[in-house]
Symmetry: C2
């Protein structure tokens, strides 16, 4: 049997783990005459019978669409509740059915998780129904081009990132990272002794993120450019709606990256927390949501969703990190990883020995809501479509306030209109020769005084010195605001502050 | 300021961590003229507004006592539901009130966690109401003798163990461990490069676990007995209802261990997953549960619960690991750690940088059930009393089957009647000179053929060779069985198999 491509990239630490449990029976040959008992009784597993659980059942009461209870925006043509009745090609979700999902102590439905299993000690990789759902979901939206792929449930993308750092990196191992990124991952890299090497980004409206020419050159001339450093074992990329720039890599771009990974033999860690929130190009926000802006699930997958690296990788070197945080709720601490079975096995061993299994409470709630209320994969995607249109509207409201501003008209700022995700980069057009670090910080104080919180790109750089020349931007998000009015007001405050800052000669 | 005792025992890895977040505002001095805005708007934190969560509210439907829906055992005098009305010294829990706890999207009650907070990104140390509960709970049952103690929520005891391994152990650092123990902790020790050194146990009915003479001698003559090994930084002990032996250390015993810890300057990691399940001595199981066997909470704390090491430690060197797994449900993946604030701070940094915060779903369910249904600390303790009496009854049923057996009467076996927890050690009285490892394994096959699962003590040894002479026992648990009949039948199968094994000259 030939070793898989990815097995050569797995860290010694991860590859060296073996799991056994003290309560598993003997593993050697049984003595002569041994016959297993037809109905064994357990005095071995130290787990309380489910009869000890104080919870008998749980009712989860749901809304039909985001902000149903607080939406100030009118919905025209038909209510959002009935949306699914209009998308005839999709599996229908009956909006008339109860909005409550009952989770019982026992169930015979193999798609559901009951209290007796969900609140019990469980499997490291996740409870079977949810694990099955994640496989069906990935098969529907991002079917891997390689065989032998598996999934494993995590306690959210943060846990997923920790697990892939362990999976690939021994001390002194190198990982390539977009120069501006989700920096908490750097702590996971440090924690296993890895070394993060930043890769240049092109930050402009037409860019797809990574500066491919820079990356090719870096790999081609690694020994010269990075003397003393090992060859990189992995590239970490947020390929869709990149954090913090909001940029998205197209399919052809991804194929080129895959070709580089094949040539230089590194793994690709694809982190995709909000890529499902695909956004049409900016349009003036309307005071109502029109139904014809909604998509069918098939059209969404075919024309809107950028295919994952999984779908382009025939060697099995891609590991994809998913989370339910942005599409369901962050407090669940629930996500999953998709990858070659050898990678998933190594992650499973880490989970079994170090972090243990993810919250059953979260698993049963997410699984049963998706199955019972949304009706499985396509119903879940219809919920995502509702999230998507809500995010698109929010993005439009914020960007409109910016486009209409003096600061924008005076070209003090540009904004990258994102085609996916929760973030837009506001580029500050400082005059040539400006001390970017000093002026961005001063501008941040100005913005705080004006009552608007932003994240300077520099705060999310892997190496401040390396990235200083490209750090003239702020990350904006339209996710947390309570309503349109707040978003609009935030846009107004933001641009007024910038205008005053520039008019004042870049002084507070 | 003098450094705390425990700060000298914290690993370099843990002490070296620092946390910052990229979305926190600037930390330096604001520019001249800066005034904070009275109502700032957020474009910085990448968290979805709670209006995006599909869940509007959750109803948790509860039982009044363990096995309420499946208990075959009659309850006399009064129903268990009304138990609390009879314990006049305790805070009353109104059994008549609804058995459903409603968790709303928003609440003003500071003791409760609502959906908007529980399902949102949250604090590393845990949500405030649950954190407050854990402090109140520990103050009531095991008030630390040292100042400056704190708690931090974990994703269960397994996570707690992983975190304390990181807290104390750098590579080559030594930790003392009961020779038979919860061996999954060994993987956590290996994971940080620590070295586990087993400490002898005395395994007999009158024992309190650790062989104190052995421990004293080991510490006194460390350099001679363990040449080349560093002095131990910590002792890991399951002091109440020890796993797998079921033994419990008394107060005087614990004081001696604390004295050793003070003398040789090591930390004590007290793991206590089921110590609250204090058990009266064995009595013939009755066919009904009599109400007068129930305790008041005050009597339980005063006379039944063995005080934690926390209550005896004036230096703050004890770190206690708690879990909701055994008293509420394992699938929650929820527990907490109690210790000196310097220890908790280091654990919090690890959580912030590596593992992230625990499931909000589990936190809100546990917190709100405890507050709304049980009425806080004393109500929660009354639930524990109901758990306790159910476990005591189960223990009685299993031990009765063993005491009544031929194998017991022929002295082939002894059983340790535990005074707390979920485990009882069945000692197999092999003739002098028996190959214990071989015969225990053969006996295990015999038991499997008879249809009963057990855990050989040897499976839970730190060092098989070191412990072989004391490995003539099996761990039994009365936790997972579905009912009394199963427990009784398991006891009968177990003892019949042993009897046949002995009568057959220790052959299968």
């Amino acid at each position: 049997m030939t070793k898989s491509t990815i097995s050569n990239l797995i860290s010694e630490r991860a590859a060296g783990r073996e799991t056994t449990h003290f309560a598993t029976g003997p593993s050697d040959e049984p003595p002569k005459g041994f016959k297993p008992h037809p109905k064994p009784l357990p005095l071995h597993w130290g787990m309380p019978n489910n009869g000890f659980f104080p919870i008998d059942s749980i009712d989860v009461n749901l809304v039909d669409y985001p902000f149903q209870k607080s939406l100030s925006l009118p919905v025209t043509n038909a209510s959002l509740e009935n949306l699914s009745l209009n998308s005839s090609t999709d599996k229908l979700v009956d909006s008339a059915k109860s909005n409550t999902v009952r989770i019982d102590r026992f169930t015979d439905d193999e798609n559901l998780i009951d209290i007796s299993k969900g609140l019990q000690y469980s499997y490291t990789n996740g409870l079977a129904p949810l694990l099955k759902f994640t496989k069906e979901f990935i098969s529907r939206v991002h079917k891997p081009a390689f065989e032998d792929w598996e999934t494993i449930i995590t306690t959210g993308a943060g846990d997923g990132l920790n697990k892939v750092a362990d999976l690939f990196l021994d001390p002194e191992d190198v990982i390539l990272i977009e120069e501006f990124t989700f920096t908490p991952f750097l702590a996971n890299i440090r924690s296993v002794g890895g070394i993060a090497v930043p890769v240049k980004l092109d930050i402009s409206q037409k860019s797809e993120g990574i500066d491919l020419e820079y990356l090719e050159d870096l790999l081609e001339n690694w020994e010269t450019l990075k003397p003393g450093l090992k060859k990189p074992k992995a590239l970490y990329t947020i390929a869709t709606g990149q954090n913090p720039t909001g940029l998205t890599q197209g399919v052809e771009f991804r194929k080129k990256v895959i070709a580089l990974a094949d040539k230089y033999d590194f793994a690709i860690i694809e982190d995709d927390p909000y890529g499902y929130l695909t956004l049409p190009p900016f349009q003036k926000p309307k005071s109502f949501l029109k139904l014809d802006t909604f998509l069918t699930v098939d059209d969404y997958i075919k024309d809107h969703l950028t295919p994952s690296y999984l779908t382009l990788d025939t060697k099995g070197r891609v590991v994809r990190i998913e989370t339910f945080s942005k599409l369901f709720a962050p407090g669940l601490r629930l996500g999953f990883i998709v990858g070659h079975k050898d990678a998933i096995k190594a992650i499973s061993n880490y989970a079994a020995l170090v972090t243990r299994f993810p919250s059953g409470t979260s698993q049963l709630i997410v699984n049963n809501v998706i199955q019972q209320r949304f009706g499985g994969v396509d119903g879940w995607l219809q919920w995502i479509l509702k999230m998507r249109i809500t995010y698109a509207h929010r993005r439009d409201v914020l960007l409109d306030a910016i486009y209409e501003s003096e600061a924008y008209k005076k070209k003090y700022i540009d904004i990258i209109d994102p085609s996916a995700g929760m973030f837009a980069a506001l580029i500050v057009n400082f005059p040539e020769g400006t001390d970017i670090a000093a002026k961005i910080k001063l501008l941040e104080w100005k913005l705080i005084a004006y009552g608007v919180g932003v994240v300077p790109g520099l705060n999310m750089s892997v190496d401040k010195k390396f990235s200083l020349a490209r750090a003239n931007f702020l990350r904006l998000t339209y996710a947390p605001a309570n309503n349109d009015e707040e978003l609009k007001e935030a846009g107004v405050r933001l641009t007024k502050a910038v205008d005053e800052f520039f008019e004042n000669g870049l002084e507070f």
